[in-house]
């Protein structure tokens, strides 16, 4: 299981046909803390607060290329053998969708900031186009919407910011991001996307929040997050946006997990999920996974998340640790 959950990307459609754009940009986080002995009593009706909530800090770097306006710019990604998280990529096989988003009033730094802070609004995006490459290059003239090609080079003019997203997994996971900036002073008509083009760094300090101390070995533990007011981005926690509770168990030490924060899904040893119903509480009895959930135990690192299955937001709205009392 890949750890990142993806950002759903903006789109632009027209009356001349619906469009659809889903692209993943992002991240996922997490890591776990030391599973030190806990001496305080555990809860079976556990009220979570902001003290139990993680805080996400992410930074996206992406190259900015000055290019000749009005030209049929070539995007060459033959040299992209690692994605923005450092995972291996076969550019000729894995890159199956490329998206091009146009912004009128935002600079690359502002767009990157809004992306990582989950603050990009639909109204920020002036245009969205997609191409489906069959090799390791794609040109502006190959982009379209709703199955129709569009004269993208005609729109590639000064005063606009373009973000290109090379995606894998049928467009669901971003492999690289770059900004294309039309400039009258530029003559270049080609941009190279390689392993140095973009990088995503995520910092989650799992020691910075308090774990929830629960009764060990019990499956009837109730978690209540009605008192949580802040999400992992520092925004108001709107609990109705979450659709799923996930509980992960790791054999690895928290230190090992922390060093691989972008690969939690790959490192998880057992996982369970339950579908939320809008209520700010859930009973762990309702968790389902490939193995039966038998309660929180010592000797493992437990991470609980609230997230949206089809969210624009790849990061959990709530993430905390559960720790068995002794």
């Amino acid at each position: 299981m890949d750890c990142q959950r993806g950002v759903d990307f903006p789109w632009t459609a027209t009356d001349r046909g619906p469009g659809h754009g889903r692209h993943v940009l992002f991240l996922m986080l997490a890591c776990a803390p030391a599973d030190e002995t806990v001496l305080e009593p555990g809860c079976d009706l556990c009220a979570l607060t902001d003290a139990n909530q993680y805080r996400l800090s992410a930074e996206l770097t992406a190259a900015e290329a000055l290019l000749a306006p009005g030209k049929d710019v070539v995007i060459d990604f033959a040299g992209l053998t690692q994605d923005l998280q450092g995972h291996p990529v076969d550019p000729a096989v894995d890159i199956d969708q490329v998206s091009l988003l146009a912004f009128r009033n935002l600079a690359p730094a502002e767009i990157r900031e809004r992306l990582v802070n989950d603050e990009l609004q639909q109204s920020d995006v002036a245009g969205w186009l997609t191409a489906y490459p069959t090799g390791t290059t794609v040109q502006l003239s190959g982009f379209g919407t709703s199955g129709n090609t569009v004269d993208a080079p005609d729109y590639f003019v000064g005063g606009t910011t373009w973000m290109v997203i090379l995606a894998r997994d049928e467009g669901s996971t971003a492999a690289s991001v770059a900004f294309l900036l039309p400039s009258e002073s530029a003559a270049e008509e080609k941009v190279i996307v390689d392993n140095s083009t973009s990088r995503l760094a995520v910092d989650v300090d799992l020691a910075a929040f308090a774990p929830v101390i629960v009764e060990p070995g019990r499956t009837d533990v109730v978690l209540d997050w009605s008192a949580v007011e802040t999400d992992g981005f520092g925004h108001e926690f709107v609990r109705s946006t979450a659709t799923e509770l996930a509980l992960y168990r790791f054999d690895e030490t928290p230190e090992a997990l922390s060093s691989a924060a972008l690969d939690l899904d790959a490192l998880v040893d057992e996982s369970w999920t339950l579908q939320l119903n809008g209520r700010p509480e859930a009973t762990l009895d309702d968790l389902r996974g490939e193995t039966a959930f038998t309660g929180i135990s010592t000797g493992s690192t437990w991470v609980m998340m609230l997230r949206a299955a089809d969210s624009l937001n790849p990061a959990p709205y709530l993430l905390t640790r559960l720790k068995a009392a002794r």
Binding site: P18, G19, Q121, Q122, G127, T243, P280
Partner: protein
């Protein structure tokens, strides 16, 4: 159902004779009897409690309830009985609220039941939105479909309150297509919405979705697409497609139809009312079942004017706006670029979508602008347009552009909701505004990147 009845006892302020006006909540008193045998229960949607009570047959009865945040709302007045009920739309999720039941008989209006209850939660997975409301915003409800374009299993219907908060959200299941338009059902506690067909031969449908979550299909028609409106007699008016061969061209045009559960009747046909002028402007590829068909008249919105029983339609093909008789389909006037009796309308109408008659007879027109040829420098706008039928002139009297440049390339609509406040749905830009005459946003909601609104509707508090 999570609604919890906490008890009956505290009662409301002075009973109001008005069954429609909202007012500030008054102090609690104990002047209510218990004769209504009233109680609150779930409705099928957790954030819409249902209040049930008894009242003598023929006696007007209604409920007042607060929204959990200091605003008192009033249900519709019902006069049939003896079993009465009201869906309490507008209570904030997860709050306690007070309710009171009133009757008005020969002894006057009096409170016959009261209590306090807790409202339920929004469902899981509600699309993220942000909103603000300022002084001058018109209190009421905004209903909007929320789409991930091209993904029909992720459609939501949502209602925002006067403070731009989500108070009702329903994931729409079981529809075979994309929701393009919604309206509050006139005089009812329900929404209507249109699911566009994919072909001139297949049915599109109009659905009724009660605030309690019950959904039914109320009308269907082959080729039904994009927009609809309610007429005064309980029927609907909508748009359908027709494919016709003209010379060597296969042309996609539109009808205006009236429809109900019994079927649809054409009252206006673009092939009869607009000349077909062959042009490379008519693009192939829009109509999926036949990619060779040329997208011609592209009629895309319809509204109904109660005072005149007229319809107003827009069509992107010729940047056309037309006023028709709803009963006969007679064209009152039609202005467009390159056809019709009104010259020089190119600056008034450009890729229009959404028009309505204002009380003074002018037309409120949503223009998307030239999103096809210059999308990165185009801002959509709303015009107030005067049509002088005697002089055959069309004049733009005022223009609203919103607080920032927003491009709407898909749908788009505007309604005048008060003398100086205009409701603007920027659909594909994921934003809805209430704009003051100077363009200041008095109320707005915005969606996170990746989702869009379809055609929304506004219902003022008390309507």
């Amino acid at each position: 159902m999570i609604l919890l009845l906490l008890g009956c006892g505290t009662v409301g302020a002075l009973p109001s004779d008005s069954a429609t006006a909202d007012s500030d909540s008054g102090p609690v008193d104990a002047d209510c009897s218990n004769e209504a045998d009233a109680h609150v229960g779930g409705s099928g949607v957790d954030t819409v409690p249902e209040l049930r009570w008894t009242a003598p047959e023929g006696v007007a009865a209604w409920a007042e309830f607060d929204n959990g945040d200091g605003l008192t709302r009033t249900s519709r007045v019902g006069s049939t009985g003896p079993e009465r009920s009201a869906l309490l739309l507008g209570v904030l999720p997860d709050v306690s609220f007070n309710w009171r039941v009133f009757v008005s008989d020969a002894d006057g209006a009096r409170c016959v039941g009261a209590g306090t209850a807790s409202n339920g939660a929004l469902p899981a997975g509600v699309p993220a939105s942000e909103g603000t409301a300022a002084s001058g915003a018109i209190d009421g409800f905004t209903a909007a479909p929320i789409l991930v374009p091209g993904v029909t299993d992720e459609q939501w219907m949502m209602i925002f309150d006067g403070q731009a908060r989500v108070i009702w959200a329903n994931p729409v299941k079981g529809v075979n297509g994309t929701i393009f338009s919604t309206e509050f059902e006139r005089g009812q506690d329900a929404l209507l919405f249109l699911v566009q067909t994919t072909s001139a031969d297949l049915d599109g449908s109009i659905h009724r979705l009660s605030f309690n979550g019950q959904q039914t299909v109320v009308a269907t028609a082959p080729g039904l697409h994009t927009d609809f409106t309610q007429l005064g007699d309980g029927r609907y008016a909508g748009l359908t497609w027709e494919l016709r061969d003209i010379g060597s061209d296969r042309v996609l045009g539109d009808h205006v139809v009236t429809l109900d559960e019994g079927g649809a009747t054409t009252v206006w046909n673009a092939f009869d009312e607009e000349p077909y002028i062959p042009s490379d402007k008519w693009e192939a590829g829009f109509y999926v079942p036949d990619p060779t068909a040329l997208d011609w008249s592209h009629v895309n919105s319809i509204s109904w004017d109660e005072a005149s029983d007229d319809l107003v339609i827009t069509g992107a093909g010729y940047d056309m706006v037309a006023r028709l008789s709803a009963s006969t389909g007679e064209t009152r006037w039609l202005f467009a670029n390159g056809i019709g009796d009104y010259p020089d309308t190119a600056t008034v109408s450009l890729f229009p979508h959404g028009a309505s008659i204002l009380p003074d007879g002018d037309v409120l027109l949503f223009n998307r602008g030239d999103f096809l040829h210059d999308p990165l420098h185009t801002c959509s706008w709303v015009s107030e347009v005067h049509v002088d039928t005697a002089a055959t002139t069309v004049t733009e009297r005022s223009r609203l552009t919103g607080e920032s440049c927003l491009l709407t390339s898909f749908l788009g609509n505007a309604e005048r909701i008060a003398d100086d406040v205009t409701f603007v749905d920027w659909t594909s830009a994921g934003r809805i505004d209430q704009l003051a005459a100077d363009g200041t946003s008095l109320w707005n909601v915005s969606l996170s990147a990746g989702r869009a609104f379809a055609t929304a509707d506004f219902r003022a508090a008390g309507e």
